[in-house]
Amino acid sequence: MSDKKPVSNDTPAQRVLIIGAGIAGMQAALDIADAGHEVLLVERLPSIGGRMAQLSETFPTLDCAQCILTPRTVEVGHHEQIQLLTHAEIESIEGEVGDFRVRIRRRAAYVDWDLCTGCGLCQEKCPGRALSDFERGTGERAAIYTLSPQAVPNKPIIDREHCIHFLRDRCGACAKLCPVGAIDFEQQDAFVEADCDAIILATGYDIYGLDRMAEYGGGKIPDVIDALAFERLLSSSGPTAGQVRRPSDGRVPSEVVFIQCAGSRDPQKHLSYCSKVCCMVAAKQATLYRHRVHNGQAYVFYIDIRAAGKGYDEFTQRAMEDEQVVYVRGKVSRLFRDSDRVLVMGADTLTNRQVQIAADLVVVAPALRSHPETVRLAQMLSLPTDRHGWLLPLNENVHPVETSRPGVFLAGTGTGPMDIPETVAHASGAAAQVLKLFANPCRQR
């Protein structure tokens, strides 16, 4: 045994503010809360889980994302040391390590969440309809809604833009039907002020929109969708219950073209970096498509196949060999609507031939981009970002989760594209830095 004495575990509990409750923010929150400290977890959306909640199945094991994620969202939701503030945004942060003061705007949900039991009656009866962002436009939701049936917290918000009460001062069905009287059309944004000792930014990424890519129809061709929308079509909890049906006419597509690097690796027109995850996403989606549509044919247009990770290259090989996915090395030059199909024109740089495929559905792998919220917070905290808005760590190699500002740490894809395991490890790394800081009480510094 070492003769060095272990520290006592009764240092006073300290509090960390974690911004963003995707898989990174949740992982950091659980690591820190389980070590006995307080966590204030702030999420912009009404419920936690982030992008991972939108995924169907995950590579390379094809675990269902919802099945592995839900136990974790529930654990976060129930944790005694984690205070969850969703549908909330950071207004301001002042102070320094050991003494940050944060002001948070809790946006009006028009529902009293303390009264609401999450019974779901309001959503069922609401006549308002809108395209669902969570379903990435592949499905609808009511004007009063939760992101998904497994939402944590399972409390709805009202979308004023589509609520008949707010638009035309009629309806009020939800208020009439709610068994506990939780609907509150008069609710206002509320402000919460809190002190915390450290901050983790886990703000995640955004998607480079199809509307920016005229070469792929600019989002105007219904059967040209992005990879996240395709995730929803593959998801058993999605709008088609996991059946692959194309948006225009609900038909099962028998030829699907996947286009990689849409907006990535294109310094002239779009973004210069590689978005890292798309190659594996495409291999997975092509595989899942073939699992759903056995006689379907998938094509993937790519520049390089980037399957770097444990079991990743092998997974892609299986997509090619077992699922007969045809990989075409080359860029798609253009695509257009041709009666009820989409004509995809491209070059095969291996055979130096032009290729033309009449597809029933085209799935574009959009670049991951820095979230506008990340940039706003970076400015608020005077943190450096690169020219694309990704957060920069203190040192690329040896301080990958620290920042130039003491007490402020980074977790996950706010720093650049990463896949899920890398994000989770990175987030635990940020948690370690906070636990280290808290072991040496900040206020005495």
């Binding site: 006995g36 290259d313 990175h426």
Partner: protein, 572 residues
């Protein structure tokens, strides 16, 4: 006679939309042990939990079945609610009628309802036989063992030490630093690797909580999470005062394995002239040349003016070598090119590759820089043969983009050989009971959500021993492993589920069948009594010993054969 209450949750329409909840209630009401049955829209909500608590008190229930969603969702919720009104939570069972009934059988409501009834009935039988139990409390030794003194192990050791816990860092070689000590500059910012490394090595050596044993290996490991005993032995005379070959027993609560990677033996790549021609080197040899500012041909000391890099040497080749992609080579090759061109401005670099894998913030731009600003010629294709030719090397390959075979004359060839687990990883894995994959890398507990935990509780993974990864990823993963250790050490003791195997000593003949069959080494023969024992900390409640015991001397708390038979009787 038990007094059991059954509560059926609608989960909005998630359950009630498919399962006829009324019929489930009616069907269990006439069970002789069921004295109360009720349903509710959302049992997990506060009013739902109060409904259960009220019934436990007013109806004097001594057992509860909650028919709702998966126990992984709300077993803890309902257990807490029961405990608040003094019902032992082990007298509460969850019947999963959502994930296992209403969701998979959405289109067959009749069958779903019948199945729900059967599931609830079996759990009524189970709960009648459940004992009242309390979680087991186990002590924790709040001291960590880190195996491997590369950048991963040092990072984990410093993070744990900085939080105030003692750490024993064991390194097999005679110095700290690992492969990073061989590096020249690091991508993306071309920082000098040895400067960054030196700071970290000094921090480790000067740390009041980190004890370093170099020239030392772990030879055996006993115990379990929170309570391991490692035997470490100095096989070499290093800087310790131990005698050569002495074994020390070290008590630790958690272990971080950070044993790193090696490069695939060049001798296994004869087609590339590995170990045959002096001017064919591997990437770490070239890295050392760059670090020492001595880019020279091993054969004659001349400065190489044309250098060929061969990517995927031994990687992505399931027939002959390793099936996997080694992940790090594309980026370090680009970096080596930039560093080479800085050292030899007139030099020409060629790269044979299959795919360029430069993923993430700034990586692709970095490779573009090697191509555009340093004139590196990237050729997409495999190299078929390398042979000496007039004092130089001829590299034959194909360029799959123009469809031609190509021949490049080179002064030096750098093989980006596959990264493989470091020698001895398999052996260490066996001794520490850590699982490995088919390539010999240590297996993480879950490929997505538990990347730094091993399959053994209390043993965590950092760096290249789990899979090849670059320095930024290694460092963040090592800190992640440290976070798990800190999370474990934050508690004064660990709690463990009490539903573990137990022994009826009078029936045990001490035959040892259970010892052999137990996959978790939780069963042992008593040192002098002729009976088997159970180590409840290691038992994972799999039931293998229960099945194997010829004398029915072994059982599992709350999963007794009597209970299981009663559950089966309820449905057949």
């Amino acid at each position: 006679m038990a007094r059991i209450g059954v509560f059926v949750c609608h989960c909005g329409l998630n359950i009630a939309g498919t399962v006829d909840v009324e019929r489930v209630i009616e069907a269990v009401r006439d069970h002789p042990d069921v004295v109360h049955a009720a349903d509710y829209k959302y049992l997990c909500s506060d009013p739902g939990q109060s409904l259960i608590q009220d019934a436990i008190e007013t109806r004097e229930l001594d057992g509860v079945v909650v028919a709702a969603c998966s126990p992984s969702m709300h077993e803890a919720t309902f257990g807490r609610a029961a405990a608040e009104v003094s019902l032992n939570p082990y007298r509460l069972e969850i019947a999963n009628i959502r994930e296992q009934v209403s969701w998979p059988h959405q289109r067959e409501p009749e069958a779903a309802t019948r199945k729900a009834i059967e599931v609830v009935r079996t759990l009524v039988e189970k709960v009648s036989g459940n004992e009242e139990l309390s979680p087991l409390e186990l002590p924790i030794t709040r001291r960590a063992l880190v195996v491997g003194g590369g950048i991963a192990g040092m990072t984990a050791a410093l993070d744990i030490g900085d939080a105030g816990y003692p750490v024993l860092l064991v390194e097999r070689s005679e110095r700290l630093g690992g492969h990073m000590a061989e590096h020249s500059q690091l991508y993306l910012n071309l920082d000098a690797g040895d400067d960054l490394l030196r700071q970290r090595v000094e921090a480790v050596h000067n740390h009041p909580h980190v004890e370093v044993l170099t020239g030392t290996q772990v030879v055996a490991l006993d115990g379990y999470v929170g309570n391991f005993t490692a035997q470490v032995r100095a096989d070499y005379i290093g800087n310790t005062e131990e005698e050569d070959g002495d074994t020390r027993h070290e008590d630790v609560g958690a272990i971080v394995l950070a044993t790193g990677f090696d490069l695939y033996d060049m001798g296994r790549l004869p087609e590339y002239g590995g170990d045959r021609y002096p001017d064919v080197v591997d990437s770490l040899q070239f890295e050392s040349m760059l670090r020492d500012n001595a880019v020279r041909r091993p054969s004659d000391g001349r400065v190489p003016e044309e250098v060929v890099w061969v990517q995927c040497a031994g990687s992505r080749d399931p027939e002959q070598h390793q099936p996997y992609c080694s992940k790090i080579c594309c980026m370090y090759v680009a970096k080596q090119i930039i560093a080479y061109r800085r050292a030899v401005p007139q030099g020409q670099a060629y790269v044979f590759y299959i795919d360029i894998r430069s993923q993430g913030r700034g990586y692709d731009e970095f490779v573009q820089e090697a191509m555009e600003e340093h004139d590196a010629l990237y050729l997409r294709g495999k190299v078929s043969k390398i042979a000496p030719h007039g004092g130089r090397l001829a590299v034959w390959g194909v360029d799959t983009l123009v469809g031609n075979s190509v021949r490049v004359s080179a002064d030096l060839v750098v093989l980006a050989t596959a990264a493989v687990p470091s020698a001895g990883t398999e052996d260490l894995a066996r001794r520490t009971r850590a699982a490995t994959d088919e390539s010999g890398f240590l297996s993480e507990a879950h490929p997505k959500l538990r990347p730094v935990e091993s399959l053994t509780a209390g043993i965590y993974l950092a760096g290249g021993c789990q899979f090849p990864k670059d320095i930024p990823e290694t460092v963040s993963q090592a800190s992640g492993a440290a976070a798990k250790v800190l999370r474990l050490f934050a508690k004064d003791e660990m709690t463990q589920e009490p539903t573990v195997a137990y022994l009826v000593e009078e029936l045990c003949s001490g035959c040892g069948t259970c010892v052999e069959i137990c996959p978790y080494e939780a069963r042992e023969l008593h040192p002098y009594l002729a009976v088997a024992t159970v180590n409840p900390a290691l038992c994972q409640n799999c039931g293998a010993c229960l099945v194997a015991c010829p004398n029915k001397a072994t059982s599992v708390h709350n999963w007794t054969p009597k209970q299981i038979l009663a559950m089966a009787d309820a449905v057949v």
